[in-house]
């Protein structure tokens, strides 16, 4: 038994004792007519509230709702002591007889999160204050409150009924205004609530509004008619009050049965076929139309369309399958954590399927973006390189033309310079064309293209093995660009003295391997080059692996199905 259950058990015991004491006081009362009914009603309702409150605390210890319900139950039990024959106890009990209304309003304002915001805290404070002094005018003036045979108030200071009546009218008016404010706050909360929130709010909020309205109407009719009308109204409010714990428990039970049904139905619908709308199914199951799904792909959150998403900052529940994180359900904060967890457990398999789609879309989007980036790079290179050289060439020739007559030697010199400029422009164009697609690759195949790459590389590259026969064009191109990018990286970062390149055909795959003897420690996340290659290879159902332990060289391997 932990500290919480021990504390709850002690409270239950205390409630039992207070209830028995209340029963004894009512049984021996000389001013209660139907003692059997009074005991059953007073003690029964108190026990129902306390038991429900303890149960709610047991379920959600951090939430104050259970504590407030328990407190309301105890406050209600104090009412029973109005039956006491001792004037002192009677006076105290009448004074405290409205306390249960205050704790109940506090509960209403705090439900369901258990805490009060600033305005609500102020309202609750006024309600407590009014309930504490509400009975004072009667007790101080000796007005006959409950019955003719009741004991006298021990704090009576005047026998003037006028003072008492005026005081009573004042407190009643304040109470009516306060009741209106509370109803207004609760109605505003209902209007602002989302659908799942309304389901949680409904039982308590509506019984609360009805009860507060009944209290207001009773006080109004008393104040207006001046009578102490016991009538139907106070009975009605007490019946509503008695029903609240049962409505609360009924709501919980209904929620759990509905939840079990929803999960069962969800499993069935998930099993029927891939409907393509997993989000819709989960939103139906949890009755939360705002529900969203995120997928965990390669260390980041993505949406179903493959776009990256921020870390969820609303209420969310991770979805795991066999201990592996596949995604998250972002949902309304008011949903029961158990309900979302059940749905998350049921949705794991389907979410893994959608995650694959999301990963594919993300990779596709990256390929498109890489294509655009490549075009921008080409345009930039053309503009900054060959185009500038040709512009300079044109200007040089124009200057030379101006000089032919006056300074033929200068003109000849300038034409020579123009010739050099033209050679460089041609070289740049050639390099650029090779980067777009190497002609030797399409004309002579991978072997010739890789050998050409090796020759052009600034460090010694040994071509160990490359199949002489032609491979499908996309495979040749992917293999070529893997080798080209790898050799560029070796030259740029590896600080290597030499590199080897091999392409082998193994089990229906072209296995590309580029190895160097450099410093290692290459970061796979560096730049977009490797990611672009991985996407390119992935688009052919192949895979790319980087092995680069610090100090032991780097090996880049690609396996591409042929």
């Amino acid at each position: 038994m932990n500290a919480l259950t021990r504390a709850l058990a002690m409270l239950a015991l205390a409630a039992l004792l207070v209830g028995l004491l209340a029963a004894a006081v009512i049984a021996s009362s000389d001013h209660v007519d139907d003692t059997a009914f009074a005991i059953t009603f007073m003690v029964g309702v108190g026990y129902a509230w306390i038991a429900t409150g303890l149960f709610a605390t047991y379920r959600r210890p951090a939430n104050k709702v259970g504590v407030l319900m328990t407190a309301t139950g105890f406050a209600w039990l104090l009412n029973a002591f109005v039956a006491a024959n001792s004037p002192a106890i009677f006076t105290f009990a009448v004074l405290a007889s409205n306390l249960y209304l205050a704790t109940f309003v506090h509960l209403l304002l705090a439900y369901p999160q258990g805490t009060l915001r600033r305005l609500e805290r102020r309202i609750a404070a006024v309600v407590y204050a009014l309930c504490a002094v509400g009975a004072l005018p009667i007790l101080l003036s000796g007005l006959e409150v409950t019955c003719e045979r009741c004991p006298d108030s021990v704090i009576q200071i005047t026998s003037s009924t006028t003072v008492g009546t005026v005081g009573d009218i004042l407190t009643s008016t304040a109470a009516i205004l306060l009741a209106g404010t509370v109803i207004w706050v609760l109605a505003a909360r209902w209007r602002a609530a989302s659908r799942p929130q309304r389901r949680v709010l409904a039982p308590l909020l509506w019984s609360g509004i009805v009860l507060v309205a009944l209290v207001a109407v009773t006080l109004t009719s008393q104040t207006v008619s001046g009578d102490q009308v016991p009538g139907i109204l106070p009975v009605a409010w007490q019946v509503v009050f008695a029903a609240v714990p049962f409505a609360f428990l009924g709501g919980l039970l209904r929620g759990q049965i509905a939840q079990a049904d929803a999960v069962g139905e969800l499993l069935q619908r998930l099993g029927e076929a891939s409907t393509g709308d997993l989000r819709g199914l989960l939103a139906d199951a949890l009755h939360d139309p705002s529900l969203q799904l995120l997928y965990w792909v390669e260390d980041g959150w993505v949406r179903r369309d493959g776009r990256s998403a921020d870390r969820p900052h609303h209420a969310y529940t991770p979805v795991e399958l066999n201990g592996e994180l596949v995604g998250a359900i972002i949902h309304d904060a008011s949903l029961e954590p158990e309900a979302v967890a059940n749905v998350a457990a049921a949705a794991g398999l389907a979410m893994r399927g959608e995650r694959l789609e999301a990963a594919l879309r993300r990779s596709r989007a990256r390929i498109v973006e890489a294509g655009l980036q490549e075009r921008r790079r080409l345009e930039r290179n053309l503009h900054d390189g060959a185009q500038q050289r040709l512009v300079a060439l044109s200007l040089t020739l124009r200057i030379a033309q101006n000089q032919i007559a006056k300074n033929p030697d200068t003109a000849a010199e300038m034409v020579g310079a123009a010739q050099e400029e033209l050679t460089r422009a041609l070289e740049e164009l050639r390099e650029l064309a090779r980067g777009i697609h190497p002609a030797v690759l399409s004309d002579r195949g991978l072997q010739a293209a890789v050998e050409a790459l090796a020759v052009r590389s600034p460090l010694p590259v040994k071509v160990v093995e490359v199949p002489g026969e032609r491979l499908p064009e996309p495979v040749e191109a992917a293999a070529y660009f893997v080798i080209a990018e790898a050799l560029t990286n070796v030259a740029k970062y590896a600080n290597a003295s030499n590199a080897t390149v091999a392409v082998r055909r193994v089990n229906g795959h072209a296995c590309v391997e580029v190895r160097d003897d450099g410093v290692g420690g290459a970061d796979p996340g560096r730049g977009s080059g490797l990611q672009g290659l991985a996407d390119r290879v992935g688009a052919l159902d192949g895979s790319l692996a980087l092995d680069s332990p610090p100090g032991s060289g780097t090996t880049l391997r690609a396996e591409i199905p042929v």
Partner: protein
């Protein structure tokens, strides 16, 4: 003819060639600038009669520079140049406040003179 010129271009090879070309055709090149910001400040400082302004600059582009340095009675004449063709820019040239546009490869004193009159 002693028209003072500021050449604005981020490519040193173009600035050098344009200077030689224009000076050989009677213009007086009094300064060079490598980006939009220095183009604006050098225009204020040197008060050239003509600014030969590249469209593509590392910071703000030539159209924005032209808009900033024209529009006053004592503003210099601005001629935009680019290795691209004027048709790449549509109505941007005419809206920029510049006198006109010359493709870099066709730059000559004669073309500039035509736009200045």
């Amino acid at each position: 003819m002693d028209c003072t010129v500021l050449i604005v271009d981020d490519h040193p090879s173009f600035r050098a060639s344009a200077r030689v070309l224009l000076e050989s055709e009677g213009f007086n090149v009094i300064g060079e600038a490598v980006d939009g910001a220095s183009a604006v400040s050098e225009t204020c400082r040197l008060k050239p009669q003509l600014v030969l302004l590249d469209v593509q600059l590392p910071d703000i582009d030539g159209f924005d520079v032209a808009a900033r340095i024209t529009g006053h009675p004592d503003s210099p004449a601005v001629i935009l140049v680019s290795s691209r063709d004027s048709s790449d820019f549509g109505p941007l040239v005419s809206r920029s406040g510049a006198r006109g546009f010359v493709p870099k490869a066709e730059l000559s004193g004669e073309r500039v003179q035509e736009l200045l009159v």
